[in-house]
């Protein structure tokens, strides 16, 4: 009885800890100056051109980061596993390195590179994709690595090769479908990270969602809180989807025949 009570008390405590700030955000963002409720701040999420453009930028950044990360990481990790297993530790070290380097140091280091990126490619905020790919590497690496560990990649790819499959087919048709949960986890966690990224964008003077939320916080506090809450909810939904996927998808039911 005592334990049960304790459990409920703890649950309540945590619920209060998490829910109260969220409720406070919702309450604040829907409050009208003279009293009563209004959805103006939420409507501004799509109506405010600066904010909606920042939302689009952040969503595009998230999509491009996921794409770039998968294109870079998947073939590399599969190749290392198959052909140069000795390099596994080195690749892991490289991928985990961004965790150990503070964002400020990354920005200072990237400044010279970005001068060239801006000069040669574009000065669009979307060029942040490059640095975001580096930023998400540690998390994406872990997710894909654990999925790959559960698979005999060597034997499966050799079997596919002996049956006539080229390397792109081996990766797309044999390896990826079997590590799909890892790939999705890597993608979701990257999206969540990019949508919440503030430091680098702010220090490099680009306007992504978090930077604009911060700016709005100074002029239109309610809109800024609505945007924060919206991005929080979006990230939570993503992470819940991740845990659902991570629970282990059994073999896909899709048929090749």
């Amino acid at each position: 009885m005592g334990w049960r009570l304790m459990r409920w008390a703890l649950l309540l405590l945590f619920a209060v800890f998490f829910v109260v700030p969220l409720y406070a955000m919702l309450d604040f963002s829907t409050r009208q100056a003279g009293g009563g409720r209004t959805g103006e701040a939420w409507a501004a999420l799509v109506q405010d051109p600066q904010l909606s453009s920042a939302i689009i930028t952040s969503l595009l950044l998230a999509a491009l980061t996921v794409l770039g990360m998968l294109l870079l990481l998947l073939p590399t990790m599969i190749w290392v596993r198959l052909r140069v297993p000795k390099a596994t530790r080195f690749v892991e070290f490289l991928c985990l390195l961004p965790l150990a380097i503070p964002a400020l140091v990354i920005v200072v280091g990237m400044r010279n590179v970005y001068t060239w990126v801006n000069y040669l490619i574009s000065d669009s905020a979307l060029t942040l994709t490059f640095v975001y790919i580096v930023l998400v590497l540690p998390y994406a690496y872990r997710a894909i690595d654990s999925a790959l560990s559960g698979l005999d990649v060597k034997t499966l790819s050799e079997a596919a090769r002996s049956l006539g499959a080229g390397w792109p087919t081996v990766i797309a048709r044999i390896v990826v479908p079997n590590i799909w949960s890892g790939v999705l986890s890597a993608a979701f966690i990257s999206v969540a990270l990019v949508l919440g990224e503030f430091t680098i964008a702010s220090l490099t003077n680009y306007e992504n969602l978090q930077v604009v939320i911060n700016l709005l916080g100074k002029s239109a506090a309610r809109v800024s809180v609505a945007a924060s809450l919206a991005s929080l909810i979006f990230a939570t939904v993503l992470l819940m989807a991740l845990s659902y996927v991570g629970r282990g998808r059994r073999a896909q039911e899709g048929s090749l025949l």
Partner: protein
Amino acid sequence: MSTHRTGADSTGVEVVLDGLTRRFGDVVALDRFDLTIAPGEMVALLGPSGCGKTTALRILAGLDRADSGHVRVGGRDLTEVPANKRDMGMVFQAYSLFPHMTVADNVAFGLRMRGVGQKQRQARAAEMLDLVGLQTQGGRYAHQLSGGQQQRVALARALAIEPSVLLLDEPLSALDAKVRTQLREEIRRVQVEVGTTTVFVTHDQEEALAIADRVGVMSEGQLEQIAPPEELYTRPRTRFVAEFVGLTNRLPATPDGAAAEILGSQVPLLAGSATAGAGIALVRPESLSVAPSGDGNATVVTRSFLGSLCRVVCELDGGPEVVAQALIEEATDLHPGVRVRVTVSRSPVLVVAGD
């Protein structure tokens, strides 16, 4: 047990491995390895781990590259051809079915890679599953099958593409004893039926001797001897082969020309034997006879029952322990401690120079 015949009406091709050398750092896995396999023949490569048999198979499959030497199949040099263009079916030691595909999709995968239409793929997959006795399992996934069934599907998948060569890399070693015996017979039946030239790598001599047309015994990257199973067993050409294949007793011998004196009997020598000096005869247990005798030359140490046969271990007077094989009815009096006379039959033996 096995039919030991090469598919006469075979569709197989000749396989030639010519002077293959492969080093891994300082270790020489293959050392100028030569092997020619006749069309439709099944050759087993047998040897202890690290002898290079799997390396040879992987080079033939295109999954590994030789430092030097050539691979020719059907007269065509495939040395530089990648694995996916070699047209070889392979069954691996580890379970290798694609987990996200049904059994039928697995079997049809190679055909899909060759651009075969859906209907033909389905028909061929069904035909292949029928061949390995799994016609009702097409809709299942690998994790729903037993180990033996998975290897059967892998065999069907390898054969579905009508490969020029079938490669079997210890396909039975992950299975339990009973399934192994069943499946090896089945592999042989299917191989004879389709007539594909086949290379079977194993470290299990019983398996190799039971199903192959010829068995190649490998040691330290080289082929020690390649011969039909009976010849390999009865006429080993080297000490390694004699000792690796089957049980062997080491008895003191005095070779003199074409025969040697072993335990008081004159026994003809096999080719490759030492012809003079003190030697050691490598004698099979079934070539030794044991009979109770008060003035014998040995004492029975143990006797073990093997079904229709008995294995009797005797200690020779002032000499080593030997293992003999006798029929049950001949061994009734051979209890531990009984004095016996051990003699050698007249079948030719290999005598090597003494240690």
